[in-house]
Amino acid sequence: MSITIKIFGQLAEIVGSNEWHVQDASDTNFIKERLISDFPKLKNFPFVIVVNKKFVNQNQKIQTGDVVALLPPFAGG
């Protein structure tokens, strides 16, 4: 399954886009591994992954229609 992942803040700047397409995105671990393999600069960059606007704390399977986003540390206020 190919999915489009939303990317924000400094992560989007490093990736060079607010969106990133991943082929065969079966689960969130796969997405993290692909991200670091495609963008080695992100190896030590802190980020969280959210699926359908919920934080993912352990590996989660990706279903058709899921909205996945990668978020750098928050800096509101």
């Binding site: 606007k53 750098p72 800096a75 509101g76 206020g77």
Partner: protein, 148 residues
């Protein structure tokens, strides 16, 4: 209308002092309120690597941020005895010296207003997906990092 209805928190640009004054004035008819507490986040002109911040350009994962603001609102009403609460956060460019966050809570007595205001601000900082790009005078930038 219920004070707990879903509201939009994210607003474009700086929050004007006149808007804050009007928000206060609107509460004069609510005479069960005995205490308001207000937090205003203001953009600092920090010096980073010898360059001075002119403005912060805020972006957010807007759909998720509005959901998180709503969750914080519900949690705050559950935890404290409040009459009402209003929160606004800027998106886009806010110049140094301007206001980017406005938290306004009201209660019968001061303790709930003081405690709820702090709670809301800390929750926003920790849980709402918002980012700030600090723009310098030479148009370069760095990314804002929240501290305690």
């Amino acid at each position: 209308m219920s004070e707990k209805k879903k509201r939009k928190v994210l607003v474009s640009g700086a929050i004007a002092p006149e808007f804050i004054a009007n928000s206060i004035a609107k509460h004069s008819s609510k005479t069960t309120i005995g205490a308001h507490d207000i937090f205003l986040g203001q953009v600092r002109s920090d010096v980073i690597g010898g360059k001075t911040v002119q403005a912060i350009d805020y972006t957010a994962y807007e759909e998720m941020a509005e959901e998180k603001f709503h969750e914080i609102r519900e949690a705050t009403f559950a935890k404290f005895s409040l009459s009402c609460m209003h929160v606004y956060h800027s998106l886009g460019a806010v110049k140094a010296g301007e206001i980017s966050l406005f938290v306004f809570v009201s209660s019968t007595h001061r303790a709930d207003a003081f405690d709820a205001c702090r709670f809301v601000v800390e929750e926003i900082k920790a849980n709402v997906p918002i980012w700030g790009k600090e723009i310098f005078e030479d148009a370069t930038h760095s990314w804002k990092v929240n501290t305690n």
